[in-house]
C-alpha cells in the first residue's frame, strides 16, 4: 500500500497544510504516482495518496485538510470501497469537493451504489488530462 504526500516540486512532505491539497485514493500504486505527478505539473500544491480506507484513517489530518478528494470506487476485492471512504469523510465533516473515479461499468454493484449518492460526480477511467486540470482549477490549484 502506497501512502505518501507529494508536493508541487516533487519533494515529499507529511506536515504541510497548503490550501490546495488533493486527496487521491486508488488501490493501484502506479496510478497514485502518475496522478500525483500530474497534479504537480498542473500546479496543485500537494497530493495526499492513499491506497485504502485504512490509509485514509491513518492520515486523518492531512486528508481532512484537502480541498478535493478523488476516490476510486473499487479498492480491491473484499476491501472497503471508495463509497466507504466517502462515508468516512462524511462522518468526519469533510469540507472539500468529492469526486468518484472508476474503470467499471454502470452495472457494477459498487458503481450503482455510488450513483445513488446524487451530488457526487462519477468520472470514468481513463479520464483526459484536461479533466484533472479542470478539477485543479475548481479548487484554485491551477497556476
Amino acid at each position: 500500500v502506497v501512502v505518501s504526500t507529494q508536493t508541487a516540486n516533487g519533494g515529499r512532505s507529511g506536515s504541510s497544510r497548503a490550501q490546495t491539497t488533493v486527496l487521491f485514493v486508488d488501490d493501484d500504486a502506479d496510478l497514485l504516482g502518475v496522478v500525483a505527478e500530474a497534479f504537480a505539473v498542473l500546479g496543485s500544491a500537494r497530493t495526499v495518496q492513499a491506497g485504502s480506507l485504512t490509509d485514509v484513517e491513518r492520515r486523518r489530518d492531512e486528508v481532512l485538510s484537502s480541498a478535493l478528494a478523488i476516490l476510486d470506487i473499487n479498492l480491491g476485492p473484499n476491501a472497503p470501497s471508495g463509497i466507504d471512504v466517502y462515508r468516512w469523510l462524511e462522518r468526519a465533516h469533510y469540507a472539500g469537493k468529492v469526486v468518484f473515479l472508476t474503470g467499471y461499468a454502470d452495472d457494477d454493484p459498487a458503481v450503482r451504489d455510488a450513483a445513488t449518492i446524487g451530488h457526487v460526480p462519477i468520472l470514468r477511467k481513463p479520464i483526459p488530462f484536461e479533466t484533472l486540470a479542470k478539477l485543479a482549477a475548481e479548487i484554485g490549484g491551477a497556476p
Partner: protein, 286 residues
C-alpha cells in the same frame, strides 16, 4: 387412438419449446430445425390416428397419402437437424441425390392414384398395405436414412461429442420402429404403424439432451461475457496510467510529437475497444 393423441401433444410441446429456445437471442438454428421437425411430426401423429380409424378405402388412401407426405418432410428436416447437430460434412452430390429422391417420393405420393403407400394397389382391408416394390423401397430408403443418422451421431460421439451418443441412441430407437413398419408391410399385417411412436421416444430423449446443451451453452456464454466485461473494466486503470504518462512526457518534452500522437491514437483505440464491449442482454444463470 389415445396414444397417437398423446404422441401428437408431446411433439407439439417439443416444437414450441425448441422454437422458444431457438429464437431467443442469440438464435440457435439447431433448435429451430428440431422445432420444425417436431412441428411436422405433430400432424403426422393425428393423421396416423385418422388412418387407423378409417371407415372407407378412400379415407384410408387419403390419410395414407397425407401421412407419407408428412413423413417424407419430417425425414428431410430431421436429417438436416442431425447434420447440423453433429457438424458432419456431406458431399454435395449425396445431398443433391438425397433431396432429389425425397422430392421424387413426395411427387409420386401426391400424384399416384393411390399414393405411395398403396402404390401396389388399394388396400384390401382399409389399412393393409399390399406388398409392392415401391412401398418396400420407400421403407428401405427411410431405414437407410435413419441408419445414416445413427452412424453420424456415433461418429460424433467417438470424436468426443458426449451428447451425440444420446442423439444416436434416440435415432436408433427410431430406427427400430421404422424397421417394424417395414416388416408390417412386408408381412402384410394390420398392426399400427409405430414409426410415429419411435419419433415420440426420440423426441423425448433429444429434447432433454438439447435442453441440457442449451443450458451448458448459456452458462458458457455467461462466463465468457463476464470474463470480457472483467477484462474491459480492468483495462481502464492501466490505460489511465499510460494516458497520463504520455501527457506528462509530452509536457516535459520527453517525447517526439509524432511518436506521442501515435501512442495517443493507440490508447484512444484501446479505449474505444473497451467501450464497445457492452453489458450483455444475456442473464447469467444461477
Amino acid at each position: 387412438m389415445i396414444w397417437f393423441a398423446i404422441a401428437a401433444g408431446m411433439c407439439l410441446s417439443s416444437a414450441v419449446l425448441h422454437l422458444a429456445l431457438g429464437i431467443a437471442r442469440p438464435a440457435q438454428t439447431t433448435h429451430i430445425v428440431f422445432a420444425a421437425a417436431m412441428a411436422i411430426i405433430f400432424p403426422f401423429q393425428l393423421v396416423s390416428a385418422k388412418f387407423h380409424g378409417s371407415a372407407s378405402i378412400e379415407e384410408s388412401i387419403f390419410y395414407a397419402r397425407l401421412g407419407v407426405a408428412l413423413a417424407i418432410a419430417f425425414m428431410v428436416v430431421f436429417t438436416v437437424f442431425i447434420r447440423r447437430y453433429v457438424s458432419i460434412d456431406v458431399p454435395s452430390w449425396l445431398t443433391t441425390a438425397y433431396l432429389a429422391a425425397s422430392a421424387a417420393w413426395l411427387a409420386y405420393d401426391l400424384v399416384a392414384p393411390h399414393g405411395l403407400l398403396f402404390a401396389a394397389g388399394p388396400p384390401s382391408a382399409f389399412t393393409r398395405v399390399p406388398l409392392g416394390p415401391l412401398p418396400v423401397a420407400w421403407h428401405a430408403f427411410n431405414t437407410l436414412n435413419v441408419v445414416w443418422c445413427v452412424a453420424a451421431g456415433w461418429r460424433a460421439a467417438r470424436h468426443g461429442r458426449r451428447s451425440a451418443i444420446v442423439i444416436s441412441l434416440g435415432a436408433m430407437a427410431f430406427l427400430v420402429t421404422v424397421f417394424v413398419d417395414l416388416l408390417r408391410d412386408v408381412l402384410g399385417r394390420e398392426w399400427p404403424f409405430v414409426g410415429g411412436f419411435g419419433v415420440m421416444f426420440m423426441t423425448t430423449v433429444m429434447s432433454v439432451e438439447l435442453a441440457l446443451d442449451f443450458r451448458d451453452n448459456q452458462r458458457l456464454l455467461a462466463k465468457l461475457l463476464g470474463d470480457a466485461m472483467r477484462v474491459r473494466d480492468q483495462l481502464n486503470t492501466p490505460l489511465q496510467i499510460v494516458r497520463f504518462d504520455l501527457e506528462l512526457a509530452a509536457a516535459r518534452g520527453q517525447l517526439d510529437p509524432t511518436a506521442l500522437s501515435r501512442m495517443q491514437r493507440a490508447v484512444d483505440r484501446l479505449m474505444r475497444l473497451g467501450r464497445s464491449l457492452r453489458s450483455a442482454s444475456i442473464e447469467p444463470l444461477p
